[in-house]
Symmetry: C2
């Protein structure tokens, strides 16, 4: 512990003279440009970016190309060999004499939206300022107009505001701030903005493969995910893998009156709850055979980093209204290093005012499996399917035919999304240490080092296809409602993010 603390102090003092200047100059540039930067960002957020919305997704790509052009970066679209692939937006800046090449990654697509679930006055693609998260009583700022001063404690609400257009925004503005402030670049810089991340980076491997030479680098910096819950900057050395499964359990072919058929017609909602309930025990352990079997134990340095991550559980419990977390006493950071089985969504017929007294025709559930090092997508999904079969289900990949309905008492359709495995970069690689040092220059307190994010990105592809070193440097606030309604980014985190990205760009 002492050695660690000493190391941080040493870092701060040895590089502060130069770094402070850089950080201050970047900050001054940003302060002078706030209206311009925010107007552009609000325009960017106004373009719907749900991954499946191919028309609007391409408008986002075009907008990013224009952002690059404005900053003097020659950009281009990198498509994959599969027709209809959403292109990545690529840009490159060569620096004479540079010995290293760094690629900055973010993704410009967003998760699906259900506008009805957003708070009053908030719409996914009409970015507005709010005083705080709506769940904490935040109010809409109705009077703001371009040019007004922007309170850095405000949040900008809209799909993609945090996940992950904030990555695009901070990266391109960091570059601009360095150039406009006449701070000499020291490394070749590349920019890679993906458009299919939220649907599992379906064609990312293909794009990498096709454009392998263009994407050669010493390091990828991933600007995605949130900073630490404490508000401190974080450098992450890995991600969990992820795969979605969609389950549909079938009942009668038409909805039945629950009185006239109740007790006789099988209820698919009851079957679904019994199936899902069979997957976890009362201590929140997954009961699917072999679910934890492949997990590779953490290394000593990973364990050490984990131990020094600030414990925020008390604050989180209070903020989130949770009296007792899952995990039977295991720490938050340790739980994020384990595979998960999460129910993302569940639906059968209707609840609330639209509920009828019926036996529904089907029940649907979406599962999210997070994978850790050692897990493998096909094997983990296979275990879930084996478990479903063991509960007596005939597993289909299509809507049941009449013949199948007559033959099998319990029918389920199981489909899966494109998934990917976990990835981890060794924390003690020299270039990993340089990233730590660079991010540390932007903070007066020790930053947080995390062996792996709980979240997921297809970083294993970077390793597998490009043989790349990958380190994540998140920029947004943790309480950003990413993937959900009322997504938002805190303005100060955007400003900080520009400084953090600028610092990383100056790695030599």
């Amino acid at each position: 512990m002492f050695a660690k603390t000493f190391l941080f102090v040493a870092l701060i003092s040895t590089i502060s003279a130069n770094a402070q200047t850089t950080q201050q100059r970047v900050r001054q540039y940003r302060q002078a440009q706030e209206t311009t930067l925010m107007d552009e960002y609000r325009e960017f957020l106004s373009i719907p970016n749900v991954s499946a919305d191919s028309v609007n997704i391409r408008k986002n790509a075009a907008f990013i190309l224009q952002m690059m052009r404005k900053r003097g970066i020659s950009g281009m679209l990198l498509d994959g060999p599969t027709p209809g692939t959403t292109p990545a937006v690529f840009g490159e800046v060569r620096v004479p004499g540079a010995t290293k090449t760094i690629v900055f990654y973010a993704h410009y697509d967003g998760q699906p939206v259900n506008p009805k679930q957003w708070a009053e006055g908030l719409q996914p693609f009409v970015p507005v300022f709010i005083t705080a998260p709506v769940e904490q009583g935040g109010k809409l700022i109705t009077t703001y107009k371009s040019g007004d001063p922007i309170d850095p404690t405000w949040r900008l609400a809209g799909r993609g505001s945090a996940d992950d257009k904030a990555g695009v925004m901070t990266i391109l503005n960091a570059y601009d701030a360095l150039v406009k402030s006449k701070i000499p670049l020291t490394a070749n810089l590349k920019f890679f903005f993906e458009g299919e991340e939220e649907i599992g980076s379906t064609h990312l491997g293909e794009i990498f493969d096709k454009h392998r030479d263009k994407l050669a680098s010493d390091l990828w910096i991933i600007a995605d995910g949130p900073r630490h819950v404490s508000g401190k900057p974080v450098v992450q050395f890995g991600v969990r893998g992820d795969v979605n499964m969609h389950l549909t359990v079938y009942g009668p072919k038409r909805p039945l009156h629950s009185g006239n058929y109740g007790n006789w017609a099988p209820n698919p909602a009851m079957r679904m709850v019994k199936l899902l309930a069979s997957m976890k025990d009362d201590n929140d352990q997954v009961m699917i055979k072999g679910f934890y079997e492949d997990v590779v134990p953490l290394t000593a340095s990973e364990r050490k980093a984990m131990a020094s991550v600030p414990n925020m559980e008390a604050a989180l419990k209070k903020e989130l209204g949770i009296a007792q977390p899952d995990g039977n006493g295991t720490s938050f950071v340790e739980l994020l290093m384990r595979p998960t089985l999460n129910i993302n969504g569940l639906q059968s017929a209707n609840v609330g005012a639209m509920a009828g007294n019926i036996i529904p025709t089907k029940a649907e559930a979406v599962l999210d499996l997070r994978l850790v090092r050692g897990n493998e997508v096909v094997r983990q999904v296979g275990r879930v399917i084996d478990h479903i079969r063991a509960q007596g289900y005939q597993v289909l990949d299509h809507e049941p035919t009449d013949a199948e309905r007559q033959q099998y008492p319990k029918l389920i359709k199981v489909t899966q999304g494109t998934g990917y495995n976990a990835q981890r970069t060794p924390m003690d690689l020299p270039i990993a240490q340089e990233v730590i040092n660079a991010v540390q220059t932007t903070s007066s307190e020790p930053i947080v080092l995390s062996p792996s994010s709980g979240g997921s990105l297809p970083l294993y592809l970077f390793e597998k296809v490009l043989k790349a070193n990958v380190v994540s440097v998140p920029v947004v606030n943790y309480d950003n409602n990413q993937h959900a309604e009322n997504e938002n980014v805190k303005v100060q985190y955007l400003w900080d993010g520009i400084e953090i990205m600028a610092a990383v760009m100056l790695i030599k």
Copy 2:
């Protein structure tokens, strides 16, 4: 069996001369009026009738008053003492010399609708003809216009077409047919059309109490629910009771990224499935303590009637696509005589294209408890709540406060709808036998006698408040999707219904 068959043969032969004539004359009247009757019915179905939609509900009441006026019945609205009560529509016809008074009941309100769930071309309140149920490949008849011949195998689709505006339609047209065909009435007739049935007949007891004298009678005939699955007319002597429960299990206050919090933040969907799964065992028996305790055994004549109900299970399994029904081998009719616990609807966050990788904030379920004789609403609901508590939940009747969230690991909100108990009329009452005889005159085959419908109506109120005899004479097809999307009534069943109601009106 022999005795029974003999009885039916005897009935058919002794009354056939007169009854055939009546039935034929009613039929001739209807055949001459088909366009007029159907135009009026389609107009009736065009008025939205969701119980909670008080503005439109009153338009329905006004429309029924107008239908009565056209037929020479002086109608009026019967309101309850509670302000805002949806009025019942009442009408009366006194017949000189009549010794009996029969009240005909139907309800004009309908279950909630989710237009998105209706098939293409079908809308809840735009009645259209279809060739068959859409689930069986039925097609929209786009060419029909008023005055065209109406194929009696067609179905008219729309909310309320079967449940239960068909009751209002057949009753008032049966009366009209008798009068216009100059068939002498033999009993005093009253008409009572309720507007709050689908929300649990919230104020029916009050209305009965306030208008007790007006509603005095020897018999109530309830035109609601479907004829037997075999297509045969049915006379029913009871109904199950019913009560809804709404459950909401709470997770984190805001939706969380399933990666950044997965394994730590409790997932309310997982909690809900474990809770609901704990309510039934693998043999479909409810495991809630005392759930079956109060059930009053069936009488000998009820058992006998049940035994002679045609067994339609094979046909139903085929039609509904069910390989194996619930109930572990117990017969369909017997299962309908037991209490139920049904999941009407289930929701947590989103499934399908709108699903996100999140830990939802809440999970909701709507339960439907059917009650049989001996069950009591408060007691049965209390047992479910006790069971929920036994699973470790703090049961609330409101959204949890921050203090409650900090105090209790497992929080659930439980609310209930207005419920009512089951009712049964002894099958061997003389007046019950007269109803059987009257309905039998309309059918060349033995009709079906059922001790109780699986469905529910607040008939216990008729017994308790009005001391009335109540017998149900359903008119619509069983495969009508009542309470659900694509509700429909088969045209022939409307025509038959007019003949059946006319026969019952002639009880002396």
